[in-house]
């Protein structure tokens, strides 16, 4: 049991770390601001979630796990909020997204 949990938790940690790096790579690779937000999302969701899950598995059913869960919930609530605020502010301040297609125009005369 403990070996199995350990293995899963290691896997989660590694995968989480990898996703974090991938998100960060995306942050570098993406051509402009709005597309970069999507890349950051990978770090915020899958990366963070997997690492926290891995740690929780290590902690077992303890207070530490509760706190880790709390961090998870915190990220769950704040990350999209901050991201949304960023995107909104960018658009409001005249940042033009690089678009392949703009389907918002018709309803926005």
């Amino acid at each position: 049991m403990s070996v199995f949990v350990d293995a899963v938790s290691w896997a989660c940690l590694i995968a989480g770390g990898v996703f974090c790096v991938i998100g960060a790579v995306g942050l570098i690779r993406m051509p402009e601001f709005f597309t970069r937000i999507h890349a950051a999302g990978v770090t915020d969701t899958l990366g963070a979630g997997l690492i926290l899950l891995g740690l929780m598995l290590q902690a077992g059913f303890t207070l530490v796990a509760v706190k880790l869960a709390m961090i998870g919930v915190l990220i769950l609530f704040t990350s999209p909020t901050a991201t949304h605020a960023l995107a909104k502010a960018g658009l409001a301040r005249g940042l033009k997204p690089l678009l392949a297609e703009d389907r918002s125009k018709p309803s926005n005369p």
Binding site: F19, I22, G23, V25, G26, R29, M30, P31, F34, T35, I37, H38, A39, G41, V42, T45, L46, G49, L63, V66, K67, M70, L76, F77, S79, P80, T81, T83, H84, A87, K88, L91, P97, L98, L99, A100, E101, D102, R103, S104, S107, N108
Partner: protein, 157 residues
């Protein structure tokens, strides 16, 4: 009503954090919960928006679906990032919303943002302006699956 339930929720939150159950800490927790709610009333943030207690039990069914969606779309974005050609087709799109309450709309908007590949840029009357990384993810959103689930999660009052 909101006040009492808020105090209760905060007190439970305290106990969860604390893990220590000495008389002093429990008393401190109760006192803190009451004090915080009093402060929050002063700020006028104790209402259905600030304390959506009515939604709590529906989380059980909604969150697993959400996590699955997040994992799926995150994997999609990962593939794009790792693809040397970086096959993106950024798209702006307006997504109609069917939620009745502000909490519902916010939940929908945040869920859109939370799933990688789509971000809500502006929340307006009856629709959300969404920026999608690819046409496909925009199309996926327009199918309305998430909208329906959030509306169901929001429930009818």
């Amino acid at each position: 009503m909101y006040t009492l339930s808020s105090i209760l929720v905060l007190f439970v939150f305290w106990l969860l954090l604390s893990g220590n159950f000495t008389a002093f800490l429990i008393a401190a927790g109760a006192g803190s919960a009451i004090g915080v709610v009093l402060l929050a009333r002063r700020m006028e943030v104790v209402d259905h928006e600030g304390h959506p207690i009515h939604l709590s039990w529906r989380l059980v069914t909604y969150w697993p679906w959400l996590f699955k969606e997040i994992a799926k779309s995150a994997w999609g974005v990962t593939k794009i990032i790792l693809n040397p050609r970086l096959p993106i087709s950024p798209t702006l799109v307006r997504v109609p919303t069917s939620q009745k309450s502000t909490v519902g709309v916010v939940t929908y908007a945040n869920c859109i943002t939370l799933t990688p590949g789509t971000i809500s840029v502006e929340v307006k009357e009856g629709e959300i302006l969404v920026h999608a990384l690819t046409r496909e993810s925009a199309d996926g959103l327009l199918e309305g699956e998430m909208d329906r689930r959030v509306t169901r999660f929001e429930g009818r009052r």
